[in-house]
Amino acid sequence: MNRNSKGCDIKETPLDQIKNIFLSDHLLFSDMGFVAKDIRRGYAEIFSPYNSLFSDKLGAMHRGVLVTLADTACGLAVFSALGEFAPIATVDLRVDYANPLRKGQDLEARIHCSYLGSTAAHVNGEVTAIENGCPQQVVARVTGIFAVNTPGKSFSENYQENNA
């Protein structure tokens, strides 16, 4: 059992729990089909399958899905660094677009939490195009700052209340 910064016991959050609480029960994430592929302490890998309902005029996935995926993965990387679903908030997000996404390509975000302080966390990573399960070109690089230990309820408290 680990202890968090307040000296409280915390449990390692298993991937299944994150999948259930954070992804499957969430309207936006289930609309976009987000799947948590790998969650380790300070690292999150989230997959978004191609969906023609979210495409741009050329038929490739719209950048809106890419940004939403990136922000989600950044949040998960912070949660996994904290080891709990403590309240957090995006303070700043920067997305640098690289190669264009092609029609039919899926997306995968791989985000690291590079710094975790008492009030803020730093994240960075990449969003990569996926074709037939194989990584292709990097489509965006992402950098973000999150406020941690913000006031309010955590994700898990909210779901526990709703599912009670």
């Binding site: 309207l27 979210f54 809106g64 922000d71 908030a89 955590s154 408290e157």
Partner: protein
């Protein structure tokens, strides 16, 4: 505000760039032009499907970022008199307040339109309080 946005949706559909309206994603993100002669502005109605943090019932940061990016594209499109939407090189968003469960209004501003590099700033408000500030840079 909700009624106004709904009413304006159809009336102003023609005032959004065709490239945007041709994307299926535009059906998911119902961005509405609510510009007045003195100021361009756009609205995004609150919808349950946009919630990021269910405990706050706040917009997901990715949806706010997408709204800012799209509005910046529309504004460059109008001011540079282009034939198609340009693709941004980079998008930077400062989230200043939680974007709670009411409509978002975005007001874009040209920082500079150059021959090769253009910068558009977009402020997003809820009930006249600023919730996010974005800077979008284009290089074509």
């Amino acid at each position: 505000m909700t009624n106004n946005v709904s009413t304006l949706l159809q009336d102003n559909a023609g005032k959004l760039p065709k490239d945007w309206l041709d994307s299926t994603f535009s059906k998911y993100m119902d961005i509405t032009y609510i510009g007045k002669p003195e100021q361009e502005s756009y609205a995004l109605e609150f919808n349950e499907k946009f919630i990021g943090n269910p405990s706050l019932r706040a917009f997901h940061g990715g949806i706010v970022a997408t709204f800012i990016e799209a509005v910046a594209q529309f504004h460059l499109f109008k001011n540079k008199r282009q034939l198609s939407l340009h693709t941004p090189e980079t998008v930077t968003i400062d989230y200043l307040r939680p974007a709670l469960s009411t409509n978002l209004v975005a007001i874009p501003e040209v920082v500079r339109i150059g021959r090769s590099v253009s910068t558009i700033a977009v402020n997003v408000y809820q009930k006249e309080k600023i919730v996010a500030k974005g800077r979008v840079i284009f290089t074509d």
